[in-house]
């Protein structure tokens, strides 16, 4: 498969995840523990890019989050920038071709994103603890499972290919 075609499939997959986030998710399950397909899309893209580009992509996705939930404007931008940058760096530490490694990366990303957003928005201690120990792990788990399912279904689309 040519690199251009691979890129096309990746971005098509990105669009598919956006549609899942804004159309399928509200129809099926939009609770606090529901999978975050927007973050999933970000993670799938940033583990294939340079850390700097990943940070910019994180900032843009964070802006989308902040615009839709402006309770603490900027917290989402900060959280997504850090998560995207770390995910891009994470690729250098371990090659994320393994499905379980990918699932772990998605779960870790969701948990860290939620932790930074909750901290940056000044959430009181008890709610912060519930968010970090109950809701963030549940959302991380559901996102990881959803990501795993998508990778199994569209493995060829999201496969990492190294340029010579």
């Amino acid at each position: 498969m040519s690199p251009r075609r691979g890129d096309g499939r990746l971005y098509l997959g990105f669009v598919l995840l956006i549609a899942l986030h804004f159309y399928v998710r509200p129809r099926l399950w939009d609770g606090r523990a529901a999978p975050d397909f927007l973050l999933l899309a970000l993670m799938l893209v940033v583990i294939r890019t340079r850390p700097g580009v990943a940070a910019v992509a994180g900032l843009v996705v964070g802006l989308v989050n902040d615009v839709l939930t402006p309770a603490s404007f900027g917290a989402g931008m900060l959280a997504h920038t850090i998560v995207a940058y770390l995910a891009a760096w994470g690729r250098a530490v371990f090659f994320p071709d393994n499905l379980l490694v990918n699932a772990g990366l998605f779960a870790g990303g969701v948990w860290l994103r939620n932790a930074i957003v909750l901290l940056a928005s000044g959430t009181p201690g008890g709610q912060l603890a519930a968010g970090l120990l109950v809701w963030a792990p549940l959302q991380a788990l559901s996102t990881a499972v959803a990501g795993l399912g998508l990778l199994l279904l569209f493995r060829d689309w999201f496969a990492i290919r190294i340029e010579a």
């Binding site: 691979g6 890129d7 990746l10 986030h21 804004f22 159309y23 399928v24 998710r25 509200p26 129809r27 939009d30 609770g31 606090r32 975050d36 927007l38 294939r48 890019t49 340079r50 850390p51 700097g52 580009v53 940070a55 994180g58 900032l59 964070g62 989308v64 902040d66 615009v67 839709l68 939930t69 402006p70 309770a71 603490s72 404007f73 900027g74 917290a75 931008m77 900060l78 920038t81 940058y85 760096w89 690729r91 090659f95 909750l118 940056a120 928005s121 000044g122 201690g125 008890g126 709610q127 603890a129 519930a130 968010g131 109950v134 809701w135 959302q139 290919r161 190294i162 340029e163 010579a164």
Partner: protein
């Protein structure tokens, strides 16, 4: 497409990351009067197709899964409304006898709640109606069960409502029998795992029994009188000799509400929230 591994992250990556961090921190520091219009601008332009998609999804879910619940609510409302004409006539007659003016009515605008995935989602809600429906900043937002919050910003196609869980939310409230007046605000208790409300500023001599319904008082001109806010669940704190703070269980959970009503006052200047 991933590039060849083993390369050292360039300085430009670090610079880009630092710039993004600075932008994010700058956005956090932005005051509401700048960040809200900025958010509205992005929402009304770049994100419009995505919001349109989510609105269609919410409508689809409503028309299928919640149809029976809404039908049951409608039937109950019809039964309750059957007694209203007689009550209205009696009310008008009594008001005329007492020499009182006609009670000012209000209209409502129904709105779909577009829930998001962010962990702070319950503090603000994105509503699928815009300026065209007549929604204005400062309009109260309520669900059939009670008060949800107040409109924070209005765009052409969407509206942001601040819920009672937002740290800046305040409403003047009164016990159901009208005997005890106070201010309702979200609790600042750091140990509670869920957000709840406090009924503050209650004079020490006044006692409110557990289970008492607390409703909006109508003072201040933002919230109309009589919208249920919460039920007293016990004493939260006592300032010896002058004030009691009661714990309130809110009537509405913003995270679960699917439809809301934006309450429109019949006329008057735009209130400042």
């Amino acid at each position: 497409m991933i590039r060849s591994p083993g390369r050292v992250t360039s300085r430009s990556d670090t610079l880009l990351f630092s710039a993004c961090l600075l932008l994010a921190v700058g956005a956090i520091a932005l005051p509401n009067r700048w960040s809200l219009p900025l958010a509205t601008g992005v929402r009304e332009t770049a994100l419009l197709p995505l919001l349109w998609l989510q609105e269609r999804a919410e409508e689809g879910r409503t028309s299928r899964a919640r149809f029976q619940a809404i039908q049951a609510q409608r039937d109950s409302a019809v039964v309750a409304a059957a007694a209203l004409p007689a009550l209205e006539i009696e009310n008008q007659r009594l008001r005329a006898l007492l020499g009182l003016r006609d009670r000012s009515g209000f209209t409502t605008v129904p709105a779909e709640v577009l829930h998001q995935a962010a962990p702070t989602e319950g503090r603000t809600l994105l509503l699928g109606v815009g300026r065209g429906t007549g929604a204005r900043i400062g309009d109260p937002v309520m669900a059939p069960e009670g008060l949800v919050g107040v409109v924070l910003s209005v765009g052409k196609q969407s509206t942001i409502a601040m819920t009672w869980a937002h740290p800046d939310f305040r409403v003047s409230a009164v016990s159901e029998d009208g005997s005890v007046l106070g201010i309702v605000a979200p609790s600042q208790n750091t140990e509670a795992s869920e957000a709840f409300l406090e009924f503050r500023g209650v004079a020490y001599r006044d006692t409110v029994a557990t289970g008492t319904l607390v409703v909006t008082s109508g003072l201040g001109g933002v919230f109309p009188k009589g919208i249920p806010v919460g039920r007293v669940a016990g004493i939260r704190a006592e300032q010896l000799g002058w004030e009691r703070v009661y714990r309130l269980m809110p009537m509405v959970n913003p995270g679960h509400v699917g439809h809301v009503l934006i309450v429109r006052a019949p006329s008057g200047p735009e209130p400042v929230p």
